[in-house]
């Protein structure tokens, strides 16, 4: 498993290069990667179905008990097949859809990284590892959604998706850490093996809420549903992938995965059924307002996701069976529907279903694919979608309210299917913004193949029953579960409910043109709800950040320093006073030599000059003298390395400061500031100095702990072959620290370099230099 993932990431890295080399056939050739991965998962099928999951463990961070642990059981296999299988067709489709796009190489890098991360999520057997892959999917999908990065809307939507999913991911991480400490292990299979430990733990409700938050945000559950329709900003291949097999299904996967360990409690039942039910209701309502084919499909995805969460929450054998079949059916019809909608947009120029008619003549194959998938989406026989829907109805017989909601949702799903797969194609007269023509082969293979699969498995559900559906349901239930799938159940109550759903859906679709514009007009002005909360929170955050930055990091250097020093004095000094003062302070002047007093006099004299002088140049130079005086003190007390460094640093500071001053207008060379601010600055400076002096005296009053000194003295030469302890510490004992400091220096140089280049407009300026700020001139 690890090697398969490494291969996937490796090919992802090579994809840009390959795309350029392969030219027009890139999509077909690159699709070999997901196709190979599909074959790999298929080859695992028999052993997984026999109840022998594939397990693999490699040590990663043994100190924290985190390992690269993978486990492929029935649930992982189902998801793995969907991710890799649909990924194959998405890769081919994208080759046609984005043909000639300048950024296609980048696209394949992102698509395959995303796919590999998704495969990592569904095969991880370690919570921390799962989290890492989970975040990786958030980040890669951010780049995929924001693929058209020159559009501001696209960027904003990508950022929204990232904030919602990564924010939920953080909550989930906290939940994982809780789970890990509750069970004493991060390995998922071990966690699930002892369910009582988790459920009876006092921290169970908190852990459940945090983990569920991660799953709900990812799977676009109400009230976090709004990011998903906006993710439509992505190119269609990405949308079809995100919606059918990946990303949003990750939340469903997580809940299903943890169900044996966390489920079966009232808290689990209510949380999942309420949120799932609310999602179904909200998304059903919002679907009615849409006219854009991709948005119609997006909201119908949310309906489907809500249904799955609801079924996991119910958690009975029948509900899990229904969830697994419905999930599979949904993936098989949602991907081709999106691809067909994308093809229509691509070849006929719009996604507004009210502006399209009669495309069927010119795009027969696309219509066939869309039609088959649409029948499945509508929950009609003989498709797999019909089987899934009937099972869902059966599972909810005991809960009439949920059942009623699901029937309305089913009717709306039928409406969506009609709007996307029938209305744009049917009719004799052609209506479209541009002359339509059939999509190329690369954009037909995927939708057709997937839709035909949905038909095949609908006609013969036995094909996937033993190998896929039973093992997957067993993994969610935590126990083997034998069931048989039939297309035709006989004249049952579920069939009656299906008929009711269909008639309701047909009525909705037939009258759509009459009520839909009225509904939109009525609700156009509504401005509340989760979206408004998100937008308000976002604006508030930015405003707060601006205020805070202005307060603590003002452009005015004096203000800036005042903030820093005042806070340090108030906090450190405050704590010292609160703790009863610096009682260890020792005043023991040991120095008595005349030359020591001379150095002191030089330092004091230079300090006085700094305070009194009205010339900035004199101030800088005097500060240098202060530094030199301190360096002489280091010489006296036998710290040559420190002294040399101090001399050099002070020299360079004076040089650099002088260079800055020379560039400023002459009026700025005079120190400014009224008498009152000087007094205030003086008080703050003296307080800061007094605090540091007091602290130093208190520290020297403490008994000296020489263990480190002894260690370095004893080991410097024998171990590190150096006699200069200072240098040995820098380049050997603490070399990692030094390396980090070197990196900090380099980053600072890059930043300062860029700032100076912009401001002063040097020769190598690659940005137009703004006007040099000459604020001081007019005064």
């Amino acid at each position: 498993m690890l090697s398969a993932l490494l291969l996937a990431f490796g090919v992802a890295l090579a994809a840009p290069w390959l795309t350029v080399r392969l030219g027009r056939s890139a999509g077909w050739v690159l699709a070999l990667l997901p196709a190979g991965l599909t074959a790999y998962f298929l080859s695992l099928g028999p052993r997984v179905a026999a109840g022998e999951p594939l397990e693999q463990r490699v040590a990663w961070v043994p100190q924290l008990g985190v390992e690269l642990a993978f486990r492929v059981d029935g649930l992982s296999l189902l998801f793995g097949l969907l991710i890799a299988g649909i990924g194959t067709f998405v890769a081919i489709y994208a080759g046609g859809y984005l043909a000639g796009d300048r950024q296609l190489p980048r696209f394949y890098l992102l698509l395959f990284s995303f796919m590999a991360a998704m495969l990592g999520v569904v095969t991880s057997d370690d919570l921390i590892l799962l989290f890492v892959f989970w975040e990786l999917t958030s980040i890669t999908s951010f780049f995929l959604i924001g693929y058209q990065h020159e559009s501001e809307e696209s960027r904003a939507n990508a950022l929204q998706g990232l904030f919602v999913t990564a924010g939920g991911g953080l909550a989930m991480l906290a939940g994982f850490v809780l789970l890990g400490s509750m069970a004493g292990t991060y390995r998922i299979s071990e966690l699930l093996a002892a369910p009582g430990v988790l459920v009876e733990h006092p921290a169970y409700p908190v852990a459940l809420a945090l983990v569920a938050l991660g799953a709900f945000t990812k799977s676009a559950q109400w009230p976090f549903h709004f990011w998903l329709p906006n993710a439509m900003a992505a190119p269609t291949p990405v949308s079809s992938y995100l919606h059918s097999a990946t990303m949003v299904k990750a939340g469903v996967y997580l809940l299903a995965r943890l169900a044996p360990g966390l489920g079966g409690t009232p808290a689990w039942f209510w949380l999942l059924t309420l949120v799932g039910g609310a999602t179904v209701l909200a998304a059903t309502g919002l679907t009615l307002l849409q006219r854009d084919s991709k948005r119609l499909l997006a909201y119908s995805t949310i309906v489907a996701l809500g249904t799955m969460v609801l079924l996991i929450g119910v958690g009975t054998d029948a509900a899990i069976k229904a969830m697994v079949v419905f999930l599979f059916a949904h993936a098989l019809y949602k991907a081709p529907l999106f691809m067909a909608a994308g093809s229509v947009d691509h070849e006929a120029g719009t996604r507004d279903v009210t502006r399209l008619r009669g495309l069927g003549r010119s795009m027969p194959w696309t219509w066939l694919a869309a039609g088959l998938a649409g029948v499945s989406a509508a929950g009609l026989p003989p498709m797999l979608g019909f089987v899934g829907k009937e099972l869902a109805y059966e599972a909810l017989f005991a809960a009439p309210w949920l059942l009623a909601g699901l029937i309305v949702a089913g009717a709306v799903l039928l409406l969506v299917a009609v709007m996307v797969a029938w209305v744009p194609f049917a009719g004799r007269s052609v209506r479209a913004p541009k002359a339509p023509h059939e999509a190329p082969l690369s954009m037909l293979v995927g939708p057709l193949a997937l839709a035909v699969l949905g038909l095949t498995f609908g006609l013969a559900p036995g094909l996937v029953q033993d190998g896929l559906m039973r093992p997957a349901a067993a993994a969610v239930l935590g126990a083997p579960y034998a069931f048989d799938l039939y297309l035709w159940h006989g004249l049952t109550l579920a069939l009656g409910l299906s008929l009711l759903t269909i008639s309701l859906g047909v009525v909705l679709a037939a009258t759509w043109r009459r009520w839909q514009p009225l509904l939109v007009a009525r609700l156009a002005g509504v401005r509340f709800g989760p979206v408004a909360v998100y937008a308000g929170g976002w604006r508030g955050l930015l405003r707060f950040a601006e205020l805070q930055t202005r307060f603590v990091q003002s452009d005015d250097l004096r203000h800036h320093l005042t903030t820093i020093v005042t806070f340090t004095v108030a906090l450190t000094g405050g704590v010292a006073l609160w703790r009863g003062g610096l009682d260890g302070m020792v005043w023991a002047p040991a120095a008595a030599y005349l030359h020591e007093f001379l150095y002191l006099a030089v330092i004091l004299l230079a300090t006085a000059t700094v305070v009194r002088s009205h010339s900035r140049l004199a101030v800088i130079t005097s500060l240098g003298v202060v530094g030199f005086g301190v360096a002489f003190v280091f010489v006296l007390f036998a710290a040559p390395d420190l002294a040399i460094t101090q001399f050099l640093v002070d020299t360079l500071v004076v040089i650099i400061a002088a260079l800055v001053l020379i560039r400023l207008p002459s009026s700025a060379l005079r120190a400014e500031g009224g008498r009152d601010t000087r007094w205030l600055s003086g008080i703050i400076a003296v307080a800061g100095g007094a605090l540091i002096t007091g602290l130093l005296l208190a520290v020297t009053g403490l008994p000296f702990d020489g263990s480190l000194t002894h260690f370095f003295e004893a080991n410097s030469y024998p171990v590190a072959r150096g006699r200069n302890i200072v240098n040995v510490i820098l380049v050997d004992f603490r070399a990692v620290d030094t390396l980090a400091e070197v990196i900090v220096l380099a980053v600072a140089a890059a930043g300062v370099g860029a700032l100076l280049r912009r401001r002063l407009g040097g020769d190598d300026a690659d940005v137009p230099a703004p006007r040099v700020d000459r604020e001081g001139d007019g005064r």
Binding site: P640, D641, I644, T645, L648, V649, T651, L652, I655, I656, L659, V660, R663, A720, R721, G722, R723, N724, V726, N727, V728, L730, V731, D732, A735, V736, T738, L739, V742, I743, L745, A746, A748, A749, A750, V752, G753, L756, R757, L760, G762, D763
Partner: protein, 136 residues
């Protein structure tokens, strides 16, 4: 700054300063000095040259862009760390090769390479500041 005295004295002084900087770098492991201090001395020498002859002359003398020095320095420091890993030890473990040259010993080591990296980064960073400010 256009001063004849400064220009005349600068040339011999920076030769001495650069020699001292390398001397400090090499002896750093046993006696006061090291990459940081050596780098500061070299940077001071270059800054002196830039003040006396202008930034263009200094850039010409330097031949490479200061940011390139930073990059090479970081590369050297990281390489010193990776060499330890290549030898099967932890990152940044010191490796030593003592070569006898006549009756003297030449001590080569990854800590020395690391210190050379620090030296280059320090020179590069400070020159980046000084040369951007001197630019007209």
């Amino acid at each position: 700054m256009n001063s004849l005295i400064l220009r005349t004295t600068t040339r011999p002084i920076i030769v001495v300063l650069l020699l001292i900087s390398i001397f400090l770098l090499l002896r750093g492991h046993d006696l006061p000095g090291g990459g940081f201090i050596g780098g500061l001395v070299a940077a001071a020498a270059a800054a002196l040259y830039a003040i006396a002859f202008g930034d263009e002359a200094a850039a010409k003398l330097l031949r490479v862009h200061p940011e390139l020095l930073v990059g090479w320095g970081m590369a050297a420091a990281v390489a010193a760390g990776l060499l330890g890993m290549v030898a099967g030890r932890e990152f940044l473990t010191g490796l030593w090769w003592v070569i006898a040259v006549g009756d003297q010993e030449l001590k080569l080591s990854t800590p020395l390479l690391f210190d050379v990296g620090v030296y280059l980064v320090v020179v590069g960073v400070i020159l980046r500041f000084v040369l951007s400010l001197e630019e007209r």
